[in-house]
């Protein structure tokens, strides 16, 4: 059974159709890259998968790990194992990172019928992850993303993923705007998440990320549809030839 199966997905926002029939299957253990120019529908797809208000699905189905995803609230999707990494992680001053991490982990544990994690185990685990993301412990006691640089915000997204261990990680332009050091740390985090039981979708604008995280499949999204899919060599072609060639070929 596929981990994620999207069939003929149409979605609109404020009455205008953005996604115009997307089909996509992601199996556990696979890394998929979805690439596309600005306005192709990449972020809309992420928001629809995340269950954001304001996006209306007019046709199609999404099945996630055997659940009808469109019937689930945003938090239910997260608890079922789908985690969304934001293109622009939100700043929440006043809510400490450490608190968010603990609440999120315990929400998941509660759904699994587990007890709340004990503070000692939790802190040990979190500190190791913080170090692995080349971050400072002090960050844990700052407000969520409050005053973080772009790179710190993206590291924080990966840190949350590493702690929460989703079945499917959906990363929306996690690489955008990162300098090379941050990109290496972020890519390294993504590579550590790779595993038999986990699917990863990298939504990206730039081929560069794929030099560090090698995808199993690459899809080109254009005007709300996936117009071409292939292996990692497709990403290299995009880099070399640009979107235009591929678009012509597809049409």
């Amino acid at each position: 059974m596929a981990l994620l199966e999207i069939k003929n997905l149409h979605a609109e926002i404020d009455g205008s159709e953005i996604l115009k029939g997307i089909d996509l299957t992601v199996n556990a253990g696979e890394v998929h890259a979805i690439m596309g120019p600005n306005g192709s529908g990449k972020s809309t797809l992420c928001h629809v998968l995340g269950g954001r208000d304001g996006y209306e699905v007019t046709q199609g189905t999404i099945t996630f790990d055997g659940h009808d995803l469109l019937e689930m609230e945003t938090e239910e999707r997260a608890i079922a194992g789908m985690l969304l990494g934001f293109q622009h992680p939100v700043e929440i001053p006043g809510v400490k990172n450490i608190y968010l991490l603990k609440e999120a982990l315990n929400a998941k544990r509660e759904a699994q019928g587990l007890e709340e994690i004990d503070t000692f185990t939790f802190m040990k685990q979190v500190r190791e992850l913080v170090a692995s993301m080349d971050m400072d412990d002090a960050f844990l006691h700052r407000g969520v993303n409050a005053g973080f640089s772009g790179g710190e915000k993206k590291r924080n997204e990966i840190l949350q993923m590493l702690l929460l261990e989703p079945k499917l990680a959906l990363l929306d332009e996690t690489d955008s705007g990162l300098d090379i050091d941050a990109l290496k740390v972020v890519s390294d985090g993504i590579n550590r998440m790779r595993g038999e039981a986990r699917g990863i979708i990298l939504v990206t604008h730039y081929q560069r990320l794929l030099n560090y995280v090698e995808p199993d499949m690459v899809h080109v999204l254009y005007k709300g549809k996936i117009i071409k899919s292939g292996d990692k060599t497709l990403a290299h072609r995009l880099e070399a030839e640009g979107y235009q060639e591929i678009l012509q070929e597809a049409s």
Partner: protein
């Protein structure tokens, strides 16, 4: 029909002998009988009416309070407690720290009482028609004087416990004078609690003078107690390099009006005015602040937050006046407000009046609901909608709590605010 501008019951309660020096008391008495209590026509009282007081028929208590204790224990290290029960001062503690002198107002000498009741408690205060301060001057029989000697660093917090409502329908008009000598440092905490269930009204005035290079931290904690009515005024006069740090946390009470007049009168002086008000039920919580920069190279930082729930009302008005000769001023003010229900109301009004030209000044007021983007973010982490709302509201309050200088008090207040938020019933389908 009223014989005077005051309700009859209040006029009748004016004492023969007040704590103020005779001349000051008589002038105040005459004045307040003429002008009466403030009404909605008064610009400063547009959003807050005193009807509950006008109709209250309060009486002044006589000798109460020996056995009244607060129900809340603040997490403070060896505090020096000055207890007032329905405005009656319960006596000077025995174990005063070095450099601290405390005198019951009734026992103070004439000059001290004249300072406590000065019609001009700070050079910039020219408000002869202020009825409530004048009423306090005319009515006050009790109060306390705190003197901190020059260079004394007082570690023990000085706590004024206002325990209101021990007897039914009482009013009180206590007066506090606190004077810090040069380079002294002290923390004054007002612990405000209602000990009875019947309405009580306290109209108190705190006059503080902060000498050169001295620092006063003044924390006001208005705790739960739904029947309390209070109108309070604080004056702070700062000399050169003095600091006045005010933290005003208002959680309880039926109608609470606090006013701060801070006169930043000496070069290098600084003031912070930090506040958190959380009106719910039918509470009205109101703070008016006036900062006057009267000297060059002075700074102020003001940060108020209000969270209004149910049919609660919050009022914040912050005035900053920069006088003509006060150059190189930095004055920042922000007022951020969160409305959690359709019936709640918040009025926020910044006022800047600048006569100098070399000034860096900013102000901003926001009133809104919870950030939808932040709610979505938390939910994508598996946090349920209600809980996500709770986190955001608590986080909004936390940013102000974090500015409190006493860590144990900070943690205590965080828990207190969380309890308040847990008790609220969140409608499942509301955006608020």
């Amino acid at each position: 029909m009223n014989r005077t501008g005051l309700p009859d019951w209040l006029s009748d309660a004016l004492p023969e002998r007040a704590a103020a020096p005779t001349e000051i008391a008589e002038a105040a008495r005459h004045q307040v009988e003429t002008i009466g209590l403030p009404g909605l026509r008064d610009e400063e009282w547009r959003w807050t009416n005193l009807r509950a007081i006008q109709r209250g028929r309060f009486h002044a208590p006589s000798g109460v309070g020996a056995d009244v204790e607060p129900s809340t224990r603040l997490p403070l290290d060896n505090p020096l407690r000055l207890r007032f029960v329905d405005g009656a001062f319960q006596g000077v503690p025995d174990d005063l720290p070095e450099g601290v002198a405390i005198t019951a107002l009734a026992d103070a000498d004439e000059a001290t009482r004249a300072a406590a009741f000065s019609p001009k408690p700070a050079p910039s205060v020219e408000n002869p028609n202020d009825a409530l301060v004048t009423l306090n001057t005319a009515m006050a029989r009790e109060g306390v004087v705190v003197d901190v000697a020059a260079n004394a660093i007082v570690e023990r917090p000085i706590v004024i416990e206002w325990l209101d409502g021990a007897t039914e329908s009482t009013m009180s008009h206590p007066r506090v004078l606190i004077r810090l000598g040069e380079s002294a440092s002290a923390t004054l905490i007002e612990h405000v609690e209602t000990v009875g269930e019947k309405p009580a009204w306290r109209n108190s005035v705190i006059v503080s003078s902060i000498a050169a290079n001295a620092a006063l931290t003044h924390i006001a904690l208005g705790l739960d107690g739904e029947s309390r009515l209070s109108t309070t005024r604080t004056f702070a006069a700062l000399e050169r390099d003095a600091r006045y740090h005010s933290h005003n946390v208002q959680l309880g009470g039926r109608m609470i009006r606090r006013e701060y007049d801070v006169h930043v009168g000496g070069t290098g002086a600084h003031t912070d005015l930090i506040g958190l008000m959380m009106p719910h039920g039918k509470q009205l919580l109101d703070t008016h602040t006036r900062i006057t920069h009267a000297a060059a190279d002075t700074t102020s930082n003001e940060h108020y937050r209000t969270i209004a729930d149910d049919a609660g009302r919050g009022v914040f008005k912050g005035r900053i006046l920069i006088e003509q000769d006060a150059q190189r001023i930095e004055a920042y003010q922000s007022s951020n407000n969160l409305i959690l229900s359709d019936d709640a109301e918040i009025d926020a009004k910044p006022e800047l009046e600048i006569y100098a030209d070399d000034v860096s000044c900013s102000h901003g007021a926001t009133i809104g609901r919870l950030d939808q983007e932040a709610l979505f973010y938390l939910r994508t982490r598996g946090i349920a909608l209600d809980e996500a709302r709770g986190l955001l509201i608590a986080g909004f309050a936390q940013e102000v709590i974090d500015e409190l200088p006493i860590p144990a008090l900070r943690d205590w207040l965080t828990t207190r605010v969380e309890q308040r938020l847990n008790d609220r019933s969140l409608p499942v389908d509301s955006d608020a």
